[in-house]
Amino acid sequence: MRLLTERLGADLRDLWTDEDTVEFAIDGDRNVEVLTLLRDDEELAFFMLADEAAVDYGVDAHFEVVYHLFSWKHPAWLRVRARVDRSDPRIPTVTHLWEGATFHEREMYDMMGIVFTGNRDLRRIYMSPDYRSFPQRRDFVLPDDAADSPAHGVNPLERPETWDLSRFRDAPAVTFPPSSERDDAPAESVTGGETLADKSRPR
């Protein structure tokens, strides 16, 4: 951590750590400089990009692109959170540092609508090319109402407290007529020796 503070100086914000992760935040437009330093500095040597993900903090907040890095020299995962403005969701690409970031960035573009400037292959990866929404944003509503129900995705019909039993209580008792009055009565009860099957048959 001391090393991080020395090397990054003013870029470093909100340094935080838990049992196996060190985390800090940077500005979105400084991500390439910071990640290049983290990768190429001999004492830091975070050579592997383990994960790159986007987080949406809500309609009146911002996006975040989160990088997880690994180094042999430090026993913790390093998490770098880069802030992206929601009104202008642009951030420089890191595909020239790690080529494998291409698919991560395509997925983020597809799901969150974040544009990575400089990425050579920024097109949709899961949805079809003519799709126009960004399905993992918080303001994207799922077509079924289960998603924003008070039960948070649990089907309301499966929760007993939501069952409306009043219509069963007020309903009249169900009784069956005697078998002689019913249409589907057994054939023996039909008078005249004719069976129902005979009646339905055209003459």
Binding site: P75, N119, R123, I125, H152
Partner: protein, 427 residues
């Protein structure tokens, strides 16, 4: 069959013609015709409505030089290990470029998980990478335990490690079978499935499910070991090494298998790190990166094992790596059974978990590489953000590097050696 030297590129008559034409034009003081900037052919070639290219890379793939053509493989090609389409640019029989088209199996599992309770998430991740179900559940379980601030009992940790290693054994075994199947060898896959069924029966005895086990819980596992599981485990352990040896005899020294894997799809260690390739594929390129050692989770720091690597980096090295890892997993299983303590298998956890607001990252070594979960809690009963990094999704990026210059028939063999599972790729 004559043995081909993989390092020698098969000469292509059309390419020779073009080189000769350019040479003559250079002699005459003219600019070369074929500078590699072909005309944009558009999408009509692969059977979808034509449209302008969206990116540089798309223009590059869908532009054709003289003598080149685009063909579709998939989405229903039997060898694609699932529903995926490859647009292959070929010159004659030689692959020039390749563009994987994904999304045919996309279910939006991340979005589903953000609308489900923490307990339910562990069931949603099951069908993702359907050959390593136990690993899929392991990473979210660790992440949620970190968020919630509990530790599972030690016996639960040992049972987790045991089922996870069993899962790795059958997943690697199937990869060997599929690799041989993609080269036309039908027999090994049958033996691979016989071996898999033994383990799957064992795991269904402990978990109650046959394929999507749904065995892990936040704070432990669902069931303790039972008699049927243990007796099946003992029977399996008594003959598993013999079975693996038989598989090795069937595949490893096979002349056709060797000539179609040695030198094919060679990936250097530096390239693999840059491309994000992890797991056995990375270790086959000589990089000793294994999360179980590099960043120990669960009880792996109490077990004795070394990280196995191969030096070749080609399909054959990736195959040998799988065999070595199966043996390593069996060695780990022996140790786990020896050391397994007594005690409860589930910590006290309420039915609906509401962790404190926070962030957690957990990574496990799945049979296909680094499988990690990044979960954010806002204090509610569902994760605010649930992100999964699937190793086979990232490994697919290596394909445009490995396949150019090879024959069309070898693309499937190289792809099978990377061992992607489309359920995980498309999430």
């Amino acid at each position: 069959m004559t043995k081909t030297d993989p390092e020698v590129r098969i000469p292509d008559p059309i390419e020779l013609d073009r080189l000769e034409e350019d040479r003559l034009r250079a002699v005459a003081g003219l600019t070369p015709l074929h500078a590699g900037s072909g005309e944009y052919a558009g999408f009509d070639q692969v059977g979808i409505p034509d449209r302008p290219p969206q990116t540089e890379r798309e223009r590059e793939v869908y532009s054709l030089d003289e003598g080149e053509m685009l063909i579709n493989m998939g989405p229903q090609h039997p060898s694609t290990h699932g529903v995926m389409r490859l647009v292959v640019k070929v010159r004659g029989e030689i692959v020039v470029d390749i563009d994987p088209v994904l999304g045919y199996l996309h279910r939006g599992i991340e979005k589903l998980c953000e609308n489900a309770t923490y307990t339910t998430v562990l069931t949603y991740v099951d069908p993702m990478d359907y050959l390593s179900t136990m690993h899929n559940e392991h990473a979210p379980a660790i992440a949620f335990e970190k968020l919630y601030g509990i530790r599972p009992p030690r016996r639960a940790e040992y049972i987790r490690a045991l089922v996870v290693e069993l899962n790795r054994v059958f997943s690697h075994g199937l990869m060997m079978g599929f690799l041989a199947l993609d080269m036309g060898g039908l027999t090994p896959i049958l033996y691979a499935f016989i071996n898999r069924d033994e383990i799957v029966d064992m795991l269904s005895a402990i978990s109650g499910q046959r394929m999507l086990f749904n065995f892990f819980r936040v704070g432990g596992v669902n069931f303790d070991t039972n008699d049927e599981f243990l007796s099946r485990l003992g029977t399996w352990r008594s003959h598993v090494l013999t079975n693996i040896e038989m598989n090795e005899h069937m595949i490893t020294d096979n002349e056709i298998f060797r000539s179609r894997t040695i030198g094919m799809g060679t990936l250097s260690g530096a390239d693999a790190i840059s491309l994000g390739v992890t797991g056995p594929n990375l270790r086959a390129s000589g990089v000793p990166f294994d999360i179980r050692k590099a960043h120990p989770y669960s009880i792996y720091n109490e077990l004795e094992f070394d990280v196995i690597t191969q030096q070749g980096g080609d399909s054959y090295a990736r195959y040998l790596q799988r065999i070595a890892e199966i043996k390593q997993s069996i060695h780990l299983i022996d140790q786990i059974i020896d050391k397994m303590p007594h005690g409860p298998v589930q910590a006290q956890v309420p039915g609906i978990i509401r962790p404190r607001p926070g962030r957690a990252y957990a990574a496990v070594e799945s049979p296909r590489g680094l499988y990690s979960v990044y979960s954010i809690s806002d204090g509610g009963p569902t994760p605010y953000r649930f992100r999964m990094r699937d190793p086979s999704f990232i490994s697919l990026q290596a394909m445009p590097k490995l396949m150019p210059g090879r024959l069309v028939a070898d693309t499937m063999a190289i792809m099978a050696s990377l061992d992607p599972v489309m359920g995980g790729v498309d999430k």
